[in-house]
């Protein structure tokens, strides 16, 4: 039996199999370092879109771990610069989970991280990108300072006051005609005289007979009735005139005010005010801050694939098409779900030329919904070359991808400023020659949008401003800025990642406004005075005529009052005679 079994076995074949497998394993052990190096460079280049170089990769099997040295990641936009360079990265891998096709790293150390380091060779992988023209900062544009010519202004502008005055005058003329007509219709002095005569007759008749006295009483009553009727007519006319005159006075008053309205309108259109300089900080710092915001958001956008992956694992069975397209992988629920890629902790050490800047990143994975924990980070540094201290922390919470919430905070104290150009305008160049800055930045990003606040407080500042311009504004502003030794600036960020909006404010606005405010007020006052005189010249005559018309119409009222008084006196006498003929 044993012999039969031995006969069935081809020993040479078994030996050949063992030798071949052993040789392959040995070969793999020899080339694995190069293979890992090539894999990282290839995969990294594909992800970044620019060359990723690795100095060396060292793979160990007991325990399973990898050490990478001199990793350089090219800046896609500047192929001769590395966006980041890391001296050494070391980590160990979880063997068991690796067989389950999960890369789980418990702890990774990244040392000697530097940014924007020069490269010896270009890191471009495709056609070199067209060099983006550096966005020109709009610079500082001074407002116009020349006073416009008043004559030219009035030649181009229609004076509405003239029309209004003419309209009022026409109204007055029409009213005068109307009231002259009405006065003619009312009981006049002749009629009133006739009433007086009749009354006189009644008083002077001297008849004492009862019949005569009764006749006198009757006549007096009739006279009283007539006078009463006329009196009512005059009273009505007086009431109507009073109402009419009130309306006319209102029109006249409006016409009298209209030249002032013209003055204000034209002054505001052609003149200038200090209010226009209320946002000078935006002109000075706006472009720089917007660039920094765009750069920060660009970096945040690049981090997104590392923070969240669409179609993460769930408890249900699902099919996922692998990259090569050979069949489909069916995923089943895992008893202890773990992300496909997870680094539980990264210890980071940046390499400033002085001081230290270290930090940790915890739970870095694109499958936070599987892990159930967000990615957090915290960095701090002391006694840095250009700052006294720096603290940075934040959280990327994509545990529920539909309601993600990312938070970032930074605080840097005593950053030494050395020649920062704020405005490149030829008319008004501004440079912050030196200063100490405290910076605070907080930001959040959610599905609804982004929000953030950037605050900078500068002290011990020395600002150089002003070029060769002899513009009065330029001189005032330059003088004011050079006297500034402390200021603060706030930028509020809102909107979306694609369209961020930045609103900037600073206490420099008050300084600049005060500096140029006096100059602006003086020029504005001069312009207003000249304009006022010109408008008065054009409208004064018409306005005087209008006031004369008003005075003329007042006479009608006097006449009506006189007639009313006379009729009332006659009525009183007539009524008295009618009651008591004796």
């Amino acid at each position: 039996m044993g012999g039969r079994v031995m006969k069935m076995i081809r020993w040479q074949g078994l030996i050949a199999f063992i030798v071949v497998v052993g040789a392959v394993a040995l070969f793999w052990l020899v080339i694995v370092d190069s293979a890992v190096k090539g894999l990282i460079e290839k995969a990294g280049t594909a992800v970044v879109g620019a060359k990723v170089d690795l100095g060396n990769a060292d793979v160990t099997f007991m325990p399973l771990g990898v050490t990478l040295t001199r990793l350089q990641v090219t800046d896609k936009d500047e192929p001769m610069t590395n966006v980041v360079e890391v001296s050494r990265i070391a980590f160990s891998l979880d063997n068991v989970n690796l067989f389950r096709r999960k890369v789980i790293i418990d702890e990774m150390a990244a040392e000697g991280i530097r940014f924007n380091t020069p490269r010896a060779t270009s890191g471009a992988v495709a056609k070199a990108p067209k060099p983006q023209p550096k966005e020109e900062q709009p610079g500082f544009k001074l407002p116009a300072v020349d006073l416009p010519d008043v004559k030219t202004v009035l030649a181009n502008e229609k004076l509405e006051s003239l029309d209004r005055i003419e309209a009022a005058r026409a109204e007055m003329t029409s009213a005068k005609t109307r009231w002259d007509q009405r006065l003619a219709e009312l009981p006049d002095s002749t009629r009133i005289k006739s009433y007086r005569d009749r009354l006189k007759d009644l008083k002077g008749s001297g008849k004492l007979s009862v019949k005569a006295l009764a006749g006198q009483a009757k006549e007096a009553a009739a006279l009283a009735k007539e006078v009463e009727a006329d009196l009512q007519q005059v009273k009505k006319a007086k009431s109507d005139f009073s109402a009419d005159l009130s309306g006319l006075r209102k029109s006249v008053d409006e016409a009298a005010r209209s030249p002032m309205a013209d003055l204000r309108r034209i002054r505001d259109r052609y003149g200038f005010s200090a209010e226009g300089l209320s946002n000078m900080t935006n002109l000075l710092f706006g472009a720089s801050i917007r660039q920094w915001v765009d750069r920060g958001l660009n970096w945040y956008g690049k981090l997104q694939p590392m923070l969240a992956r669409s179609g993460g694992q769930t408890g249900a069975v699902k099919t996922v098409k692998p990259l090569r397209g050979a069949g489909m992988n069916v995923r089943f629920p895992e008893r202890n779900p773990l992300p496909d890629f997870l680094i539980r902790k990264i210890a980071v050490s940046l390499q400033p030329t002085a001081g230290s800047f270290t930090g940790t990143v915890v739970n870095m994975t694109p499958d936070q919904n599987v892990l159930g924990k967000p990615t957090t980070f915290a960095f701090s540094g002391e006694n840095l070359e250009h700052a006294r201290s720096a603290v940075m922390d934040g959280e990327f919470n994509h545990v529920a991808p539909a309601q993600f919430s990312d938070r970032f905070g930074m605080n840097m104290q005593d950053i030494k400023i050395d020649r920062v150009i704020l405005s490149r305008s030829e008319e008004m160049p501004v440079t912050l020659e030196q200063g100490l800055v405290n910076l605070t930045l907080t930001g959040t990003s959610r599905r609804e949008g982004i929000s953030g606040r950037f605050t900078a407080t500068v002290r011990d500042a020395r600002i150089a401003a002003g070029g060769t311009s002899t513009n009065a504004f330029a001189t005032s502003i330059s003088s004011a800025l050079t006297k500034v030794n402390a200021f603060s600036l706030t930028a509020d960020i809102s909107g979306t990642l694609e369209k961020p909006a930045v609103r900037i404010s600073s206490d420099l606005d008050r300084v600049l406004k005060d500096a140029v405010g006096g100059l602006v007020r003086e020029k504005a006052a001069k312009f207003e005075m000249e304009l006022n005189a010109a408008i008065e010249e054009r409208t004064g005559g018409a306005l005087k005529g209008l006031q004369g018309d008003v005075a003329g119409l007042d006479g009608v009222g006097g006449k009506l009052s006189a007639r009313q008084d006379e009729l009332e006196a006659i009525l009183k006498d007539a009524a008295g005679k009618a009651k008591n003929p004796f």
Binding site: F99, V317, G327, M328, N329, V330
Partner: protein, 173 residues
């Protein structure tokens, strides 16, 4: 193509046992259907080398079945997908999915599962069928060819003797 046919004929006409050749064909089905760097495939290679299966037949068969697998991949995908998504088997697949060993085999890939199952199903029928066909070939076709006068004449020539020595025709693998 002609070379392959010549090699096949060489194997069939050799003095190897039909069982050895059939076993080789059976193993070649598995090796051809499954991805090269998979555990079942490596196991098959080990068995072919260790057991006395006809290596030439195995290599020929593996090449042939690899070509067939290209054409049958869509069918393997359908078979694999229906098996992997069968509700009754979900418990089994879930247990295997949570095992590191089985995850390495990529059993949850539809083409891998479909081709593996197809190979398992076909290996025995192929073994017996090829065994039968080889015996029939040797008993009837080869015997008839050997009886032909022209073949007998050729075999009698010295040219044939030299050719036999050089090519190793008729030597057992």
């Amino acid at each position: 193509m002609i070379t392959s046919i010549a090699k096949l004929l060489k194997v069939l006409n050799s003095e190897s046992e039909p069982g050895q050749i059939s076993l080789a064909f059976g193993f070649s089905l598995v090796a051809g259907f499954l991805p090269f760097f998979s555990l079942p495939s490596l196991l098959v290679w080990l068995l072919v080398l260790v057991l006395r299966a006809n290596i030439s037949a195995f290599l020929l068969g593996a090449a042939f079945f690899s070509l067939v697998a290209f054409a049958l991949d869509p069918l393997f995908h359908i078979v694999g997908l229906s098996l992997l998504t069968a509700g009754a088997l979900e418990g089994l697949w879930t247990a295997l999915y949570n095992s590191a060993f089985w995850r390495i085999q990529k059993f949850n890939n539809t083409v891998v599962m479909g081709s593996f199952i197809s190979a398992l199903v076909l290996i025995l029928p192929l073994y017996f069928l090829s065994n039968l066909l080889i015996r029939r070939y040797r008993d009837h076709v080869l015997a008839w060819v050997r009886k032909l006068k022209i073949v007998q004449s050729l075999k009698a020539t010295s040219f044939y003797n030299i050719y036999q020595k050089v090519s190793g025709w008729g030597a057992a693998s």
